[in-house]
Amino acid sequence: MEHAIAVDAVTKKLDGRQILRGVTFEVGKGQVFGFLGPNGAGKTTTIRIMLGLFAPDSGRATIMGQDCGTDRARQYLGFVVDGDGLYDNATAEDNLAYFARIYQRPASRERIREVLGLVDLADRADSPAGTFSKGMRQRLAIARSLIHDPDVLILDEPTSGVDPSAQIEIRQLLLDIARNQGKAVLLSSHNMDEVQRICDRIALLYKGEVVLSGSLDELSAHMGRGGVVVRTDGPVPQAVWGAVAARPDFGLAGEPWREPGAPLEFTPADPALVPDIVRSLTEAGARITAVERGGMSLEEMYTSIVRRDRTA
């Protein structure tokens, strides 16, 4: 199957600093793909490579099978970059008409109104973009990215600085674009909750590498879903930890005595081992208050990776 976006072993050095170290991921048609990472991880550089603004040092990035940076790839691509890129003194309609002209597509009034209708701005078509709120500007930027009917949308933090109700509208719009129009949407965001709500798959970029990639379910499994969280009354003595750490099949994660109050997390090789875990802890003197099914939110996965790296 041809991927809408394919980034394969892309590296990039800027100002003598290695920004990307073999970034690889794919986005399928009709998918909303979350592109995550802390500041400085290389997200914007990767996006600029996909937009054809930067050339990769090695590796390959394609949009609908066309090498990024070629005019054919750009014709398939709609985007919203950081800063929205709208002309303030031009009306919403003119902003769209300009870009339609650049893409050499007919910019009929009907088409422009239709696209503005998608983002619920048809009634503001004649207003200058400079008079719009942040949320309206972001919606207009999304409309502009859709004016030439691209197959792929790349959005760099489209809900940043937008109020909660506008965030919901934008999320719904992106889902609609992916599900009903079959477009691939790559969403770069710092908002884990947002990504968890609307993305089918994600890639977590950290220090120029994709450290996690896959569907949310796959990632949860990889990061501990299916495991068990045991909460205890008070700090876990090192002796208790030692009792369960001696059993590798229990799959104890981390070194919990180092973090007083932190629960014990297990990913047992077999779910049938859960009673044995509880028994071992009790016999070692732990006062168990709760045994819960494990599962990590995206935010927990994200912070655990970043934290693990920082403590290493």
């Binding site: 750009r74 890129g85 303030d88 003194n89």
Partner: protein, 247 residues
């Protein structure tokens, strides 16, 4: 070509985005024309007409030089007003990056922005200078007193716009590849430098302003600027332009 026109159109509008800038630009133009008219009438044309020795050709040369100086200064002033603010805003607000991510080339963006800077000043400068010289010729001196010099008219209305086309290309290469403030220094230095040099050459009689030599000097200056721009434009890539937005 359609993309170049679209880029030029967007940037023309973007350059005119601030009403304050337009008011400043037009105000400077009108003020300059007014001052040039008064100074020319009181200190150049008046005495020449009063002594009765000046021929219609000499009056035509003086008028032509006044028109030349006015055009040079007004277009130069438009560059000072309309170059740095719109380009800086373009870099900061992401409009430049958005434009580069479309199927336009870095050179189309460069040419489009250069034309968008050149056109308003060239139109206003030429119209105001022409208006001033016509008012002085037919309103102040009276019809039949002036014999227009074709070389000087060509220099003013063809060569000077070419010079400023070259300058626009140069400052935009510099501004797109590096800091806008540094590129603007070229503008600031060029206007008084070029004006003073040309008026001194003509005023001191080193070169006859109404000759083909004066035209050639101006066209030569334009050629040097265009050549410089073309040489540096080879460095223009989308990556370099985007990276310059951080500067």
């Amino acid at each position: 070509m359609r993309q170049l026109l679209a880029v030029t159109g967007i940037n023309l509008r973007n350059n005119m985005q601030s009403k304050a800038l337009i008011v400043v630009f037009v105000g400077i133009g009108v003020l300059l024309v007014g001052i040039a008219g008064v100074v020319a009438g009181a200190f150049v044309l008046g005495p020449e007409a009063d002594d009765g020795d000046s021929t219609p050709a000499e009056l035509g040369n003086s008028l032509g030089l006044i028109g030349y100086a006015t055009t040079v200064v007004i277009i130069g002033a438009s560059y000072s007003v309309l170059f740095s603010v719109p380009l800086t805003r373009d870099k900061i607000r992401g409009t430049l990056e958005s434009l580069l991510a479309t199927p336009t080339s870095a050179r189309q963006v460069w040419l489009g922005k250069s034309l968008a800077l050149f056109l308003p000043g060239a139109i206003v400068g030429n119209v105001l200078a022409l208006g001033l010289t016509l008012v002085l010729a037919y309103g102040y001196l009276g019809s039949g007193e002036v014999e227009w010099n074709g070389w000087l008219l060509l220099t003013t209305h063809v060569a000077v716009p070419l010079v400023y086309t070259g300058l626009s290309l140069v400052v935009h290469v510099a501004g797109l590849l590096g800091r806008v403030a540094n590129a603007n220094v070229l503008n600031v230095v060029f206007l008084p430098g070029f004006t003073a040099t040309m008026l001194n050459l003509a005023g001191r009689g080193v070169v006859d302003a109404g000759s083909s030599a004066f035209l050639a000097i101006n066209v030569g200056a334009a050629a040097v600027l265009v050549l410089l721009a073309v040489v540096f434009a080879r460095k223009l890539t989308k990556e370099r332009i985007v990276l310059s937005c951080r500067a």
